[in-house]
């Protein structure tokens, strides 16, 4: 192979080169921050890069596989019994739920309120977690081919997980509710008081923003999505209030809630379709 085909050789690095490349990198950062020009590239990159995340999952999948295949008979029987017990409890809850739903429907008709949409859902599996520790994002194994869209709500069995922020052909990127850049309109289930819940960068804590000291809010209150802004449907669990503190000299309370969803451990998630996805389809980039 001729010597000039090699890229590795001794050579000086001129200072002007550093300045040019640093400015180039800064320009890219600026373009990414102030515009959405790079979003289509990001969406395309999802499909290119996500297979690498599959490779990084191999150790965990091997561990799960070995746990499943080498579990003792006693463990399987115990798990089976637990699942039967849970099934009984859930059946009992469903039977009472039917009457609640019927009553709710009747009251809505009386109040002339539009019926809540029956949501269509799609189950997606976690592919990987990007390595940046300061942002809370996930990669899921569903994309445009499954009709996902930007802004789509993501749930797990316990509550709201986040929303889709980028969609590739086969994969999508989800921003978690605990990310510092995420905010969701919520309301207190006890008294209907509305607020905005924003991420803190901590998986176990979300903050309610701008809550006046006169607001009626207590530790233990359940917080659900309010449906305002029409990005998240109304009534999905977000978390439970864990602390309410006054800040000296501030007219606002510091209210922290613990998310209901298992943000760090959940592997399977529900993607919610409920009829309003077409409103955001215009912002889906890079694929169709």
């Amino acid at each position: 192979m001729p010597a000039d085909r090699h890229i590795f050789r001794e050579g000086p690095a001129p200072l002007r080169g550093v300045v040019i490349f640093t400015l180039l990198a800064a320009s890219l950062l600026g373009v990414n921050y102030f515009t959405d020009w790079l979003d289509p590239v990001r969406a395309k990159a999802l499909d290119l890069v996500a297979p690498l995340y599959h490779i990084t999952n191999i150790p965990e999948r091997l561990r799960d596989w070995s746990q499943e295949n080498f579990a003792s008979r006693e463990e399987i029987l115990a798990e089976n019994q637990t699942l039967r017990d849970q099934n009984l409890i859930l059946q009992a809850r469903v039977s009472t739920m039917a009457s609640v739903v019927a009553e709710n429907t009747r009251l809505r008709q009386l109040l002339n309120v539009a019926e809540l949409l029956e949501a269509r859902v799609l189950i997606a599996e976690l592919v990987g977690i990007p390595p940046d520790s300061e942002t809370h994002r996930l990669i899921l194994d569903k994309g445009l081919n499954q009709e996902l869209f930007v802004g789509q709500p993501v749930l797990d069995a316990q509550g709201l997980v986040g929303q889709v922020v980028s969609v590739g052909e086969e994969y999508s990127e989800v921003l978690l509710i605990s990310d510092r850049g995420h905010a969701v309109p919520v309301q207190n289930l006890r008294n209907g008081v509305r607020a905005i819940a924003e991420g803190t960068g901590d998986f176990q804590r979300i903050r309610l923003r701008d809550i006046p000291v006169t607001m009626d809010i207590k530790v233990g209150d359940d917080i659900v999505t309010s449906g305002l802004g029409e990005r998240f449907p109304k009534g999905y669990p977000v978390g439970v209030v864990t602390s309410v503190n006054t800040i000296e000299g501030s007219p606002f309370l510091e209210v922290l809630i613990e998310p209901d969803s298992n943000l760090q451990t959940t592997r399977h998630m529900l993607l919610l379709f409920s009829g309003w996805e077409s409103r955001f389809s215009g912002s889906v980039e890079g694929g169709e």
Binding site: I7, I129, G201
Partner: protein
């Protein structure tokens, strides 16, 4: 003092190494979800110290962009740091190569901390927050791998221990 030229590495091999480094970078560590081994930074440092390149800045920039792509980070975040590292490393190449891999650790940790500082600075501008301690743990965890890598692949007789 000028050390002898090193054996050159073809571009395809370098790309393969970058791919492997990216996979290592993405590997979650059990119990330390927010700490990752920055194998890409280690690779760029190793290349700059032991496999001098014709266009170190271009290579650092392109490798950084690839790392940004793989990590879904803002494009330019890692690229900027790796460009500056690719400029700084050759300046201290000769002195660093004269000492053993373990004694090189303070410089390597310093450069990795500088990289992390730049990366965190970008995050701070984006999100308005300072980085957590996890970033520091990640640097130390990454640096641990430097001596074994250099000892395994470096054949420079100057840093080899003479037989007793």
């Amino acid at each position: 003092m000028v050390l002898p030229d090193r054996k050159v590495i073809p571009l395809t091999l370098y790309l393969l190494l970058v791919l492997i480094a990216c996979i290592i970078y993405l590997l979650p560590i059990p119990g330390l979800a927010n700490v990752r081994i920055d194998a890409v930074a280690l690779l760029v440092l190793y290349m700059n110290f032991y496999r001098p390149v014709t266009w170190p800045l271009t290579l650092g920039f392109c490798t950084g962009l690839l790392q940004d792509l793989v990590a879904f980070a803002p494009p330019g975040q890692h690229a900027m740091g790796l460009v500056i590292i690719s400029f700084l490393a050759p300046l201290m190449r000769d002195s660093l190569r004269m000492v053993s891999p373990v004694k090189q650790l303070p410089i390597i940790i310093g450069l990795l901390l500088f990289l992390k500082f730049l990366s965190s600075w970008v995050t701070a501008l984006n999100l308005g927050v300072l980085p957590s301690l996890d970033a520091v743990w990640a640097v130390f965890l990454t640096a641990i791998f430097w001596p074994p890598i250099v000892s395994r692949f470096e054949t420079d007789p100057k840093i080899r221990r003479a037989p007793s």
